[in-house]
Amino acid sequence: MSKFLIRRTLAIIPTLFVVALVTFSIMHATPGGPWDADASKRGTDPRFQETLNRRYGLDKPLFWNSGAFAQARAEGESVLAAAPKLLDAQFENYLFNLLRGDWGPSYRFRGRDVQDVMFAPEEGRPIWTSRFGTTALLGILALIMATVAGLTLGIIAALRQNSWADYLCLFFATVFYGIPNFVLGVFFILIFAVALDMIPVITPAIWYENSNAPNLGAAFLPSLTLAVGTAAYLARLTRSSMLEVMRQDYTRTARAKGLSEWVVVMRHMLKNALIPVVTVLGPALANLVTGSFIIETLFGINGIGRLYVESISRRDYSMIMGTTLFYALLVALANLSVDIVYGMVDPRIRVGE
């Protein structure tokens, strides 16, 4: 098992490398640079731009600094000594800095580093009130809601198969599985903010100004929006998986032994029925994670998702790289954690053994 885990964990590295390479290449294949947004307003003069480019290393070639390499060779250095010069290019420099924990300066938030904007809270506030903390809070709330609601509905539907409760659960699960989360969010806003006037149209800050507790009232609707689709998916899956388990011999045996219904359901049925459910938690989790771009933009929440969408339009290269890699890492970790849990719930199918 540990051998498999190590291999699986190490496999994340090439994946992230490729993600970085693809993102970097696409971003730099495009016309326009990070200073454009200011150029129209301030009329940045070309000399100033040049200085900026030099300061941020944007004047270097993207992948291979063959100029510096040729110069070093001309100055009589050996191939080996000159080789590092070849790597003195934007992409390699970015990766080396990344490994040192320096995600590069943000071009949009002047004077701040990318990791600082993403993970550091405002002055004098606890660490969890950062943008990352906000996104994580929404994600965790959504995951809890989705799992609890999905499993409960699925179990009830399966235990009362073909009753009105079953049909109701199935109906809602099908409908909400089909409706995309941002459309659902639009409806929620229209109903609760516009028609019923229960909440403000623009979501207030997720973290209270004066205390360091989360404003769960504000976080509720966004996380619910995120959770509904996943909950519906889990409910459908749990139901069909439970129905399968109900017909198994060991369930009949457990009943025949005279065990209480609760023990039969929880210990014999649910434990087995959850195996297929666990396998989809990874993709579901990844779905929740990437859902945050839309939900945060829709509700106007200052999290990493919104930061990502905004830095795209501002061409904040280092921020795009940072957030993309961060999201890719989260998705990879979500899938990895599922492999681990999978082995724990079902000893028969320890992957890689």
């Binding site: 993600v19 016309p31 326009g32 089909g178 995309p180 459309v183 409806f187 994670v289 771009f293 998705v331």
Partner: protein, 328 residues
């Protein structure tokens, strides 16, 4: 359950006297028995008709602006001032620049349908060819495919679309068809991989079967085995995947449109694609109190289309392969 039993018996009796049917006829009959799928197909055909005949059906042209008629509410709304009262000429009201919302929603159907169906053909054909070749021949092609698959699976799709759509927006490719061509391209680049992987798995299990050996023994060429034996036998799962590819593409377009990265708003009245539901949502967000229909109409359309495809996809899967029923 009783009604089902009798129906089953009647069907069995009928089968005795009927000429043999093939998989597709059987599947079609099973699909027609699925009420949700049939209803979904009816609703969807309405959207397809709207998409094809948008210029004829829509009351106005999406670029036609009405001076002094900005952000009018729906026709039936009675307000205190003329600005807050609906105008019978505009059933769903007007938007921030004075376009008719109903017209825009109808033209939006055209964009969504195109985004759903056109990349699907690219995705399915490319994915099937690569999947068959790599499954059948194995070797380095197969290895390469699996490495590509690993990367694509690890790269969150939406992340990739956002980056591509924003980065390549100003290039010639990004300008064609109001940016839709770039979206088709991006969707295909990501989604063919899933199809290829599925077909590969299908081919791997099929090629060990006796009928393939038999074909080889009588001297069938590789091409013939692939085209006449492997392809028809893996068509059923390909069709099901196709049915789920369409709503994904439509959803992606709507999401990107909502982030302002989808189709560009048209300036040329003769352009094939003028607006999209996602874009309408983006505009509607700023006017949700006065003119909620700018949000409600496109959101309802997206939800309806997605639901239809869910039902059709589920129905197709159950109809084509009753053994797969309930898996997803």
């Amino acid at each position: 359950m009783a009604t089902n039993d009798t129906r089953l018996k009647a069907a069995d009796l009928g089968r005795l006297s009927r000429k043999p049917t093939n998989l597709w006829e059987d599947a079609w009959r099973r699909l027609l028995r699925n009420k949700a799928a049939v209803a979904a197909m009816v609703v969807l055909s309405v959207f397809v008709i709207l998409a094809v005949f948008a210029p004829q059906i829509a009351p106005y042209h999406p670029l036609e602006t009405f001076k002094g008629m900005t952000l009018r509410p729906a026709a039936w709304v009675k307000g205190t001032t003329p600005e807050t009262t609906g105008d019978p000429r505009f059933l769903l009201g007007t938007d921030t620049v004075g376009h008719d919302v109903l017209t825009e929603v109808i033209w939006g159907a055209r964009t969504s349908m195109a985004v759903g169906f056109i990349p699907m053909f690219l995705i399915l054909s490319f994915g099937t060819v690569i999947g068959m070749v790599s499954g059948y021949f194995g070797g380095w092609i197969d290895n390469l495919l699996m490495r590509i698959t690993d990367v694509v699976y690890a790269f969150p799709g939406l992340l990739f679309f956002i980056i591509v759509m924003s980065a390549l927006r100003e290039t010639p490719l990004g300008n064609m068809l109001n940016g839709l061509l770039l979206l088709f391209f991006a969707l295909s680049v990501v989604n063919w991989v899933g199809v290829a992987r599925l077909v590969r798995g299908q081919v791997l299990s099929l090629k060990k079967r006796d009928f393939i050996d038999a074909a080889r023994v009588v001297g069938a060429s590789d091409t013939r085995i692939m085209l006449r034996h492997l392809f028809p036998n893996s068509l059923a799962p390909i069709v099901v995947v196709g049915a789920f590819t369409i709503p994904n593409a439509i959803l992606t377009e709507a999401t990107l449109g909502f982030l302002g990265l989808g189709i560009r708003p048209a300036s040329d009245p003769s352009a094939m694609f003028q607006t999209s539901w996602g874009m309408l949502l983006l505009w509607g967000r700023d006017a949700m109190r006065g003119q909620p229909w700018l949000l409600i109409a496109p959101a309802t359309c997206i939800a309806l289309v997605m639901l239809c495809f869910t039902f059709i996809g589920d129905g197709l899967r159950d109809a084509l392969d009753p053994m797969m029923k309930g898996t997803s």
